[in-house]
């Protein structure tokens, strides 16, 4: 392998480089300022993310493969990065309130979060097995540490450990798969792997090893996504982590995981699509089924949302089952809308937190419609949207996926998916029931700051507005491929 370095190539990785430098500078800065001014770190972090976002935005439309073919810049990547950064900014804004009321406001938090975002950006742009793996590990290690920031909470430590151990296994499996692919194709480069895998002269022995590698790759990514049967860590980690981390976990890393899926399986092993799409079919249906059924009797809302995430991931994978560009676009659309909903859901949960009180039981929502009708309305919209009831975006993302699934002839799959969607509607209704139909009024007083309320309102209104005009976003998602 030849490494040629050309300084002008650095320009294409500007966002990553900028973010990395910003992290380093903010980290140092934070060490030297007085305690009184510590809150500046938060604003600096947000500024850094915003500026990174702008620099990514400028690169949209550019496409290049740089650093000796290890790093790719294309519209898909840049768009994903814009969304990662945008959602991350919202997530961190919600986070601040949570950290304050739980006395966790230490600035490592934001730095670790930025670090994991850096990892995601690298994942999105990975064009070599190595880059992808590096990005994944940067992201994951920062996430493990993020969970453990609540170091005096047993549950958080347990979650961090669980996530770490299982994450390490997943990484191991992924790496194992990668090593097989590398071994048989002789290259780490995605484009070269793709050439190798689609070559007509492939012997049966080579195909077998390639398929083995593929299975391990799929398992590794399924672990990261939390698809059944590799989902066991999801509920525990979601429940045990501080809610702000849960929110973060359930949002932006999903984009990165979809990106790695696209890079590895569509860009790299697209010629084996008929193999992995069968694997995905099983993963998808199991995820939708288990996610919908097990969520039914949860009393902890974070745990319930964890299972709901699993079922949403199932829908995303259904988009990949189709094996056509529109199906992939539908999957991307689904992920983006899911994150928008997930952020709002956790945002409302965080808004209910107050000093030392963690609002993570469904029962904590009792009578919310009376004490805070606006927040309750946002939560109502989010829950109905997640259940797939029109006119909210959740419906259109399901419609988009189902349309592709039916178009490719998997009508039974679509029917199963909608049946489980109805079952899952039951637990979303439970939240609505608790907020609206309950006589008991806990009179929760909301102490969330104004900026958070405004952001939540925008988030909730977007769920309705994008639902009324989904055309643009659908087009965008499909145009990425």
């Amino acid at each position: 392998m030849n490494f040629n370095f050309n300084a002008s190539e650095l320009l294409f990785a500007l966002p990553e480089l900028f973010l990395l430098s910003a992290i380093a500078i903010i980290l140092l800065f934070d060490l030297f300022i007085s305690d009184r001014l510590k809150h500046i770190t938060y604003y600096l972090s947000q500024l850094a993310l915003l500026l990174t976002g702008f620099s990514v935005f400028n690169l949209i439309g550019e496409s290049a493969i740089i650093f000796s073919g290890t790093f790719v810049l294309d519209t898909l990547g840049s768009t994903f990065k814009v969304f990662i950064l945008g959602f991350a900014i919202i997530a961190l804004a919600y986070t601040r309130h949570y950290l304050k009321v739980h006395d966790l406001l230490r600035n490592e938090y934001f730095i670790l979060a930025m670090m994991s975002i850096l990892g995601m950006l690298i994942m999105v742009s990975g064009h070599s097995l190595l880059t992808l793996y590096l990005g994944l590990e940067i992201m994951s290690l920062s996430l493990y540490a993020l969970i453990a920031t609540a170091r005096d909470r047993t549950a958080a430590i347990e979650a961090a450990l669980k996530y770490f151990v299982l994450g390490a296994i997943a990484s191991g499996l992924l790496l194992y798969g990668m090593s097989m692919i590398y071994g048989i194709s002789g290259s780490l480069n995605i484009a070269q792997i793709s050439n190798f895998a689609s070559a007509a002269t492939l012997g049966s022995q080579q195909t077998l090893i390639l398929n083995f590698g593929l299975v391990f790759l799929v398992i590794g990514v399924a672990f990261k996504l939390g698809a059944v049967p590799f989902h066991m860590w999801v509920p525990d980690v979601y429940q045990g982590s501080p809610t702000s981390v849960t929110m973060f976990l359930s949002s932006v890393p999903k984009i990165a995981a979809v990106a790695i899926l696209i890079r590895l399986l569509i860009d790299g092993l697209g010629s084996l699509q008929h193999y992995w799409s069968d694997l995905f079919m099983i993963l998808a249906i199991l995820s939708i089924a288990i996610g919908s059924l097990v969520a039914l009797n949860q009393t902890n809302i974070k745990r319930m949302l964890a299972y709901s995430t699993i079922s949403h991931i199932g829908f995303v994978l259904l988009g990949f089952v189709t094996g056509v560009v529109d199906g992939y676009g539908a999957a991307v659309f689904y992920v983006l809308t899911y994150i928008l909903m997930s952020l709002a859901a956790f945002g409302v949960i965080i808004a209910l937190n107050k000093n030392g009180f963690e609002a993570d039981q469904i029962a904590d929502f009792q009578g919310l419609s009376k004490s805070s009708p606006w927040l309750a309305l946002i939560m109502l919209v989010v829950m109905l949207s997640m259940a797939g009831v029109p006119p909210f975006i959740g419906f259109y993302s399901k419609l988009f996926i189902l349309q592709q699934v039916v178009a490719e002839g998997y009508v039974i799959l679509a029917v199963l998916a909608v049946i489980f969607a109805v079952i899952s509607a039951y637990y979303y209704l439970q939240i609505i029931k608790t907020m609206y139909f309950s006589d008991k009024d806990k009179s929760i007083v909301i102490y969330a700051p104004l900026d958070m309320k405004i952001l939540l309102s925008i988030n909730g209104i977007l769920i309705l507005l994008v639902g009324l005009m989904p055309s643009f976003w659908m087009e965008l998602s499909v145009s990425l491929f």
């Binding site: 419609s369 009708p373 109905l384 009831v389 029109p390 006119p391 419906f395 259109y396 419609l399 189902l402 349309q403 039916v406 178009a407 009508v411 679509a414 029917v415 909608v418 049946i419 969607a421 109805v422 509607a425 039951y426 209704l429 609505i432 029931k433 609206y436 139909f437 989904p470 055309s471 659908m474 087009e475 499909v478």
Partner: protein, 515 residues
């Protein structure tokens, strides 16, 4: 006005938003604003009737704007003689409901009014959507306000009822969604008219038919998927029951007219007997179930199911009356005239509208009693006429209409359907006509136990008669019922061209004809 339908949809929805903003603390203003909006919408909807061209079956008041271009989905509205009466029924019922909830609803008044206004806009959307995805969005969205109406303002067991209602109807409709998507993949368009033109094999038609059937049968509701209805009705506040019975059930009947018959004519024809048997079970068996009810609301709920059986009976009886010969000529089976096929379909329509009035009236009657004694139990009452003579007058009139007394709207629809069914099969008509006995039995027996006789409960003697507001809405309904009963001609005229067209479509096979 070019955008009259849009105004009718969005005025109440935006109005609901403004009522929400007024807030529960200023309930008096919220009430007046709501009633103002609903009256305005009703007045505007009258224009639909006045400007309606009865000579054509094509869509009128059409609006078409591209909405989701990827899927060829349009914001496409329009109406014909089948949807227009239902839209006016909707705007009419909304006024009734809002006035009926005037003093009865004490908590969260603004939210209550807003929910009904939102409901009104959404349901007008259902009846006027010409694009099946737009239709589906409105159709599903209508569950949300109803869920909240039952769940927030309902009775003791409201949570169970509201969630059961939601899940039942949601489950019914998702299969419709899958078949809509399936047809989109065949035709490349979600336009309902494109689906009419779509050639479908018998196997495809059968699957699509049953998927649609599930969605519509749950809404109507037909036996055996009716079990959500008594729960929902009993727990819902009076206004909720009225809207549920008067309008939401009609969405199911409308679905049969708009989707099942024209899109899957051959499957409809071959499964017609199954549907008719289910309808007859609903009419007879559910009628008997109504007979043993102790709860007045439950009794009316079951009577609703029984009466809605006439709608599906009338619709599906046409296949045993007429058929299309290979030359495209309508020929009758067993010497029936084409008029009896029209009678079936038009009778079904009239029955839907009349049921809208009568069930609204009956639920209001129970509501009035419930407001005073907080009981729906028949045994609580007895001799109500002694303390509430004016009210009893209305109640007896509505009960007579419910039993199908000639001169009331209840008679016209049932009579038309029975006449139509008689041409199809004697036993259909015979069993359907049983309702004249069973219906009279349960209704009149309830009237006897509640209104006549001596007062056994001392509370009853202290009841105050209807106030001006109640008197007003009951009289409006009484007039509507009598008018429909004595002079249904204007309504039939409005729908006739569309019905002729529908009958032709339903009898034209989509299968290649083997000669």
């Amino acid at each position: 006005m070019d955008s009259l339908l849009s105004i009718l949809i969005w005025l109440p929805i935006l109005g609901a938003g403004s009522v929400l903003l007024i807030g529960n603390n200023r309930s008096e203003i919220a009430r007046w604003v709501s009633v103002g909006i609903s009256v305005l919408v009703f007045a505007l909807s009258i224009n639909l009737y006045l400007d309606f061209d009865t000579s054509t079956a094509s869509m009128q008041f059409v609006e078409k704007v591209s909405w989701i271009s990827q899927f060829n989905i349009f914001y496409h509205l329009g109406l014909d003689g089948i949807s227009m009466p239902l839209i006016i029924l909707t705007t009419f019922s909304t006024i009734i409901v809002i006035i009926a909830g005037w003093e009865v609803i004490k908590n969260r008044v603004a939210d209550y009014m807003a929910a009904f206004l939102m409901m009104e806009g959404i349901i007008i959307g259902v009846f006027s959507a010409m694009d099946s995805m737009l239709y589906y969005v409105f159709w599903e969205a209508s569950l949300i306000p109803m869920l909240l109406i039952i769940g927030i303002w309902g009775g003791q067991n409201r949570v169970y009822a509201s969630i059961k209602f939601f899940l039942y109807t949601f489950l019914g409709s998702v299969f419709m969604l899958v078949s809509l998507i399936y047809m989109y993949n065949l035709s490349g368009s979600f336009a309902i008219s494109e689906m009419y033109a779509l050639p479908l094999s018998m196997v495809q038609q059968s699957w699509i038919f049953w998927a649609f059937f599930l969605a519509f049968a749950v809404k109507v509701p037909m036996f055996p998927v009716h079990t959500w209805l008594p729960d929902a009705h009993v727990q819902a506040p009076t206004g909720g029951s009225v809207i549920l019975a008067a309008i939401m059930l009609k969405m199911g009947g409308y679905g049969f007219f708009r989707f099942s018959l024209p899109i899957t004519p051959d499957a409809s024809s071959s499964f017609a007997t199954v549907v008719i048997v289910l309808s007859l079970i609903a009419i007879v068996y559910i009628g008997f179930v109504a007979l043993v009810q102790k709860d007045m609301k439950k009794l009316i709920a079951y009577s609703s199911i029984s009466h809605m059986g006439f709608v599906t009976l009338g619709v599906f009886a046409i296949f045993s009356i007429m058929k299309m010969d290979p030359n495209g000529e309508l020929v009758s089976i067993a010497g029936a005239s084409i008029e009896s096929a029209y009678l079936g379909l038009e009778g079904a329509m009239i029955q839907m509208i009349s049921h809208g009035f009568i069930s609204a009236a009956m639920f209001l009657v129970v509501g009035v009693l419930y407001d005073r004694l907080h009981s729906r139990d028949i045994t609580t009452y007895g001799g109500v006429i002694n303390s509430m003579p004016k009210f009893t007058g209305f109640a007896v009139l509505f009960a007579m209409a419910n039993a199908g007394l000639p001169g009331t709207s209840g008679f016209v629809g049932e009579f038309m359907v029975i006449l139509g069914a008689l041409q199809a099969n004697f036993w259909y008509a015979f069993l359907a006509a049983m309702t004249l006995i069973i219906g009279a039995a349960y209704t009149l027996w309830m009237v006897k136990r509640v209104f006549w006789g001596t007062i056994t409960n001392p509370e009853v003697s202290k009841l105050s008669d209807v106030n001006a507001r109640e008197f007003g809405i009951l009289s409006i309904l009484a007039i509507a019922i009598l008018w429909m009963g004595l002079y249904p001609q204007p309504v039939i005229e409005v729908m006739h061209a569309s019905i002729v067209n529908l009958l032709e479509q339903s009898l034209t096979t989509k299968l290649p004809v083997l000669l």
